[in-house]
């Protein structure tokens, strides 16, 4: 097994009182096999070079979620990340998770993350929508999202959470989908009503970062897309996000292309459009106002036929979790 000497650039955060920190980057050299984990390296540094280095860890098996931290530009589990796969010119940069307050060095206060999870009532509720019968395939959706270990990687790298502390965040939304898609759940509509409020499911920017960084392949954004579909099916259409999605579908079905000229009006309404006049004038300066008569694709009749066929005979095309076969 080949060994390399790596430079670990580690962010050291020392509390100086009143929520302030003395933040500096410290370098450590460690010689390790390329397949060692970042967690092994951190333990080596703590044992032999600097016992004051603070980080969380527990199971070493990517199941407890304690060791999530920023490693080479992404939030990852230190116990699941091999040094050779993240080193850039033999340098590995390690910092604490972002979007949550730091306690010391690489340890963060994970309360804001769990506070969001609690906001979605993470437990099954009895109610009028509880299924009496459960089929073999009824858990296909649930199984995908129950892989979540609450490590916080997705929330740490969430581009919306970075600018919006009010945003519910990917893990809490995926957890919510776990209950909305569970046949036994009795309050599905009530949950979707809550999720349709501002800063919840419609505020995801669909940057897909959470899908990329999740160490357990939960695909939170896919769950968010499915929640939106279910919300629309329940007639929850009053928010800007929902109306915008509906305007898209209306345009494509009727014209093939978007009518960007009227898209804003249909999404934010007349009041919202008037409030945006300043922005519109700014865009107009460079001729960036769409034509009210967009291009029409050829053979649009085909599209309307496809639409009608699927309205008459709906197809379930949702992705499902792979069947889990015990070894």
């Amino acid at each position: 097994m080949s060994e390399e000497t790596y430079t670990f650039r580690i962010q050291r955060n020392t509390p100086t009182g009143n929520g302030r920190f003395d933040t500096r980057w410290q370098e450590f050299k460690v010689t390790l096999p390329t397949t060692s984990t970042v967690l092994s390296a951190l333990e080596e540094i703590k044992a032999r070079q600097d016992g004051t280095l603070t980080f969380r860890q527990s199971c070493r098996s990517a199941i407890c979620g304690s060791c999530a931290m920023r490693i080479s530009g992404r939030t990852r589990l230190a116990c699941k990340t091999q040094v050779g796969s993240v080193a850039r010119d033999k340098v590995i940069e390690v910092g604490p998770q972002t979007n949550q307050p730091v306690l010391k060095d690489l340890a963060i206060d994970i309360r804001p993350f769990f506070e969001r999870v609690r906001r979605v009532d993470p437990f099954l509720k009895d109610g009028p929508e509880s299924a009496k019968k459960v089929t073999k395939t009824a858990y296909d959706q649930v199984n995908q999202v129950t892989q979540c270990i609450m490590c916080g990687c997705c929330y740490s790298d969430c581009t919306m959470a970075e600018v919006s502390p009010a945003f519910l965040g990917p893990a809490a939304l995926a957890k919510s989908f776990r209950f909305v898609s569970d046949p036994r759940e009795g309050m599905k509509t009530e949950r979707l009503e809550f999720l349709s409020q501002p800063d919840n499911m419609w505020s995801c920017s669909r940057c897909t970062m959470c899908v990329e960084v999740c160490p357990k392949d939960v695909k939170p954004m896919e769950a968010i897309v499915k929640l939106r579909t279910r919300g629309l099916e329940k007639g929850l259409r009053s928010g800007v996000g929902a109306r915008h999605a509906l305007a898209f579908h209306e345009d494509i079905q009727q014209n093939g292309d978007l009518n960007e000229f009227t898209l804003m009006m249909r999404s934010v309404g007349l009041g919202g459009t008037l409030a945006e006049l300043g922005s519109a004038l700014h865009l107009m300066k460079k001729g960036k106002i769409p034509s009210p008569f967009p291009h029409k694709a050829e053979k649009l009749g085909e599209l309307r036929k496809i639409y009608d066929i699927l309205e008459k005979n709906p197809l379930d095309v949702e992705t499902k979790a792979a069947e889990i076969v015990p070894e």
Binding site: T229, S267, L310
Partner: protein
């Protein structure tokens, strides 16, 4: 390698961001890349259509992919979201043959040629950095950037989810924009933001947050020394470029970072006609920087 493609510019390039389209055509003409029209292709639907009508969204993508297949060509696009949407459908059709069969059943019933699953979906940037002969490309750089510091802004849907894109083109190790900047004689700027979100898709629903994203990315790039920013996506162009002034007002700070579509900067470095590159349609004028580096 054939450089003959079915061209899917996307809605933004047909209207508000038409300079990206004219610049792409100008650059392609120079490099021997043929862009063939797709008269039947419609809006890709983005994730919005997947939200309202998931099956219809896949059928719309299949119809577009089928049109390219009928032409015997692979698709090339200049919009990241179109790239992601078509690649997502294509990926699922490959992974789930039964799904493709079901969707094809609907296409046939509607009188549309079924999709055989053979089309590749490319971004024009990938074609230029990985399929065009790099010696030819280099020889076309008549006005190198002279060490200009350029912030690469990849845009989410050019990178993620990496599993749906051909390996090497996407994901966190993607470096095509960096390579293009170096080849043009510029210096890629390293800053927090190159793989972040421009906020375009929440422009209407979460206005303040979208503007904060634009401002944060532009400020980070500028503070890292960037003189201009380039992106491969017409929607990122609109957010980071056309909306930058609106974002400035929202955060109460002047930024003034010229933002161009990658094809506009490449076309400038190739000394192509400025009118075709649409430099006058940008909100932050890139010409002072371009002329200070001897590009124009």
């Amino acid at each position: 390698m054939s450089l003959d493609f079915a061209y899917f510019p996307g809605c933004a390039a047909k209207q508000v961001q038409k300079e990206a389209d004219t610049a792409a055509r100008a650059v392609c003409q120079e490099l021997g890349i043929t862009l063939n029209a797709m008269p039947r292709a419609t809006c890709c639907g983005a994730v919005s259509l997947r939200e309202t009508k998931p099956a219809f969204a896949l059928a719309v993508s299949a119809r577009t992919l089928s049109e390219a297949e009928e032409q015997g060509r692979n698709i090339v696009t200049i919009c990241n979201t179109c790239l992601q949407t078509l690649s997502y459908a294509n990926f699922r059709f490959k992974e789930e043959p039964e799904l493709l069969q079901q969707i094809n059943g609907v296409l046939k019933e509607a009188g549309v040629r079924p999709y055989g699953g053979t089309v590749q979906v490319n971004h024009l940037l990938w074609v230029i950095t990985d399929k065009v002969d790099q010696k030819l490309l280099k020889s076309k750089i008549k006005k190198p950037l002279g060490g200009m510091k350029v912030a690469p802004f990849y845009g989410c849907h050019n990178l993620r989810p990496s599993e749906i894109f051909p390996s090497g083109d996407a994901g966190e190790k993607a470096d095509h924009l960096h390579r293009l900047i170096t080849l043009m004689g510029g210096e890629p700027v390293s800053y927090r933001g190159q793989d972040r979100c421009c906020g375009f898709h929440v422009m209407l629903s979460d206005k303040k947050e979208m503007r904060a994203m634009v401002a944060t990315n532009c400020i980070n790039a500028k503070e890292a020394g960037a003189e201009v920013m380039i992106t491969p996506c017409t929607l990122c162009d609109m957010a980071m470029g056309a909306y930058q002034g609106i974002a400035e007002k929202s955060v109460g700070r002047t930024i003034g970072l010229p933002e161009l579509n990658f094809a506009q900067l490449l076309g400038s470095a190739m000394a192509l006609d400025q009118g075709r590159l649409g430099l006058d349609r940008l909100h932050v004028d890139p010409k002072p920087v371009l002329s200070s580096r001897g590009v124009i």
